[in-house]
């Protein structure tokens, strides 16, 4: 586990009587793309939330770049999300009141960047993901595939070290899903961003360096490709 950018040790998490995580250890190196597979309800999303510090595990530790997330105050974890982490979820995370361009510029603006500068960077990322034409549209007026590309652009605009993607293609048909997946991994690799990619799409293996399988809150198989 040496050289791990992000590492989790023996994570436990329960929701009431439901055990979502029952002792999961996981690590990912800088720039690595790891696919997290497993049936629905097995604890993939919970793992991802714990890894990114937006959910506190009941037991176990998550260490990012030498810092234990559980010990960081909320403001510090917010800062990490703003600078080092990016997120793409299945749906619902674009702000419908803002245009796609403004959505992509939003993380930079929350970090205090001037509007002009933030939007210049946003345009660049929209182009990189092939959705420059959605800049002036609102998310509800774009297709599902376009929305997810915009979401990827927004997650990567700050140049994060880790991208957390939770079934980013779950709401898309398989063709456009695969295209989004390819665009996302290509762009992330080009900028050296590691990806924790939760999915239950089997063909995802083609885009990942490594694959882990979660079952009943534990990692069952861990294999290197």
């Amino acid at each position: 586990m040496t050289g791990a950018l992000l590492a989790a040790v023996e994570l436990h998490k329960s929701f009431g009587s439901t055990r979502a995580l029952a002792g999961v250890s996981f690590s990912i190196a800088a720039g690595e793309v790891v696919a997290v597979m497993g049936p629905s309800g097995s604890g993939k999303s919970t793992l991802l939330h714990c890894l990114s510090g937006i959910l506190a595990p009941d037991e176990g530790t998550v260490t990012y770049d030498g810092h234990e997330l559980g010990r960081l105050p909320d403001a510090q974890r917010s800062l990490l999300r703003r600078t080092d982490f990016g997120f793409v979820f299945q749906f619902g995370q674009l702000v419908p009141e803002l245009t796609c361009l403004e959505n992509v510029a939003l993380p930079l603006r929350l970090a205090g960047a001037k509007r002009k500068i933030a939007e210049l960077a946003a345009v660049e990322w929209l182009e990189r993901l092939g959705v420059a034409d959605t800049a002036r549209k609102r998310p509800p007026d774009t297709s599902g595939g376009q929305s997810q590309r915009v979401a990827v652009a927004r997650a990567l605009v700050t140049g994060p070290k880790v991208l957390f993607a939770d079934e980013p293609t779950g709401a898309l048909d398989s063709l456009s899903g695969e295209r989004v997946l390819k665009a996302m991994t290509d762009v992330a690799r080009a900028s050296g961003t590691a990806i924790v990619l939760v999915t239950h799409e089997s063909r995802v293996a083609a885009y990942a360096d490594r694959e882990v399988v979660v079952r009943d809150g534990r990692i069952r198989v861990s294999e290197w490709q």
């Binding site: 909320d74 917010s78 703003r82 009141e97 970090a111 927004r154």
Partner: protein, 574 residues
Amino acid sequence: MNADMAIGIRLAVGRGMGSRLAVVRFVLVVLDIGLCVAVLLFAAAAIDTIGSSSDREAARAPVLDKRAGVTPLSLVNISSAYRGSSISGRQVRGGPLSPVPPGVPAIPGPGEVFVSPELARLLDSDPALRARFGGTRAGLIEPSGLVDAGELYFYEGVDRLPDDRDITTAYAFGDERRGGTTPAEMILVSGVAVVLLAPLLVFIACVGRLGGVERDQRLATLRLLGATAPQVRRIAAAESLAGAVAGLAVGVAMFFAVHRRVDGLQVGNFRFSAADFVPPWWRFALVLLIVLVLVVGAVLLGMRSTVVEPLSVTRDSGAPMRRLRWRLLPAASGVAFLLPIALDLVHENKDVTMLVSCAIASALVAIPVLLPWLVERAVAPLTGGLPSWQLAVRRLQVDSGTPSRVVGGIAVVLAAAVGGQTIITSVAGLHAGTPDLSELQAHRLSGYTDGLYLLSAFTLLAAGASLLVLVVQQLGERRRAVAALSAIGVPWQVIGRSLLWQNLIPIGFGVLVANLAGAGLAVATLHVLGAPAVFDWRFAGAVSIGAVLTVCFATVLGIPVLRASARLDALRSE
């Protein structure tokens, strides 16, 4: 910090440009806050009209105490009916050293008459009336000598006063003890004004807080993107502030647009004059400030019990007992305000007025605060029935959020309308039976009554607008769930009826509570005034039915929009 403000404002603007339903909702909210603001501004101005007219009335009241070196002015009060309004005035006889009443340059000599501008206009247009006023017109009475611009008033010089009348000997004019507003009138006017204006404030707070679910989702997204908790609060404050400012702008525009048109408008005995209807700038500013603080405060207060987390928004509901205890607070403070009166501890009229006003305000706040809790208790044991009924009841049991707010709003307005109307009817009845009521007081009272009717009409109008906003909002919130129901094949008729039930159940409840509360408030106020309560059941019935119909109407109107947007959603996710 500035960037947070900018983001908040941008989100507010975005709200006004999104989907069709979002646009409708945003426009309605802005119009609604605007309407409430305009009514509040008129009320702020009207306080002055009431005050200034009673000041002017006091200024012309005779001082009866003897004064050295003054030849008293002998006068007789005259009044007669003319086509539904009353012409009143004084026959006067005095010398060069006699006191001169306000508004006229000198005491009219025998055969001379000073008339108010409105009376002059009548005299010029009606020869028959002219025949009754024999004197030559010496001039017009200036506004300082008149209660309002529409008053029909005169001073007639005579050399012999009629023997069969009470003759007043005035040594001066301007007796504060006699002409001014009586304490009972102060209680009446301030009590009813509070009753009628409080719902506007409640509505502004309710409507300003709308869209909580969507806002929470938006804020959770911002948290996910790395916004800190204080940053999110600033953004939410800026967003609500922007909405409030838009509402204020519309309100001020409405105020001035209407203001220009009401000049000279006559409602009963009450005559508007545009000059009387501009509140002083500081009061104008105060109304705007109160509304801003109310909207932003309501949003921030609503967020205080909410932990905005990146994943979702969790409401910190606490123990059920504690929640109820908190909800009982306004009701308890209402009782606390009345306690000193009931125990006979306060006797000063001013103190009584203040306590009663505070009690009424607390009671009105208590209604929307307590009702959601009551509605949840009431629907909890309901079961079975038709599918539409079952869907509605289940939904209300799970979450009575917006419907409860609708009910709270309605209940406040209904309570205020029923209470205000009862007070007006009862006091009018009380005064009708008072034999020694002076002409002036009668005039003033009827002016108040007309003013209060007008105010309650405006409040009901604002209430109707707010109801519409709340119902449209509720339809918006239910959009996804409705789309899901329709997707699994539940017919639209059933969905529509279920939506109707979802609103009708709480509203039926609210109407009941509101009528009881309104009658209760009126009885309490009238008890302080020493008047027996006269209930106007027909009025109460009419406004109750009006409220229920407004909700039905808004729901039925909203269903096609809902249906269209649900279909659009379905298309998009394919």
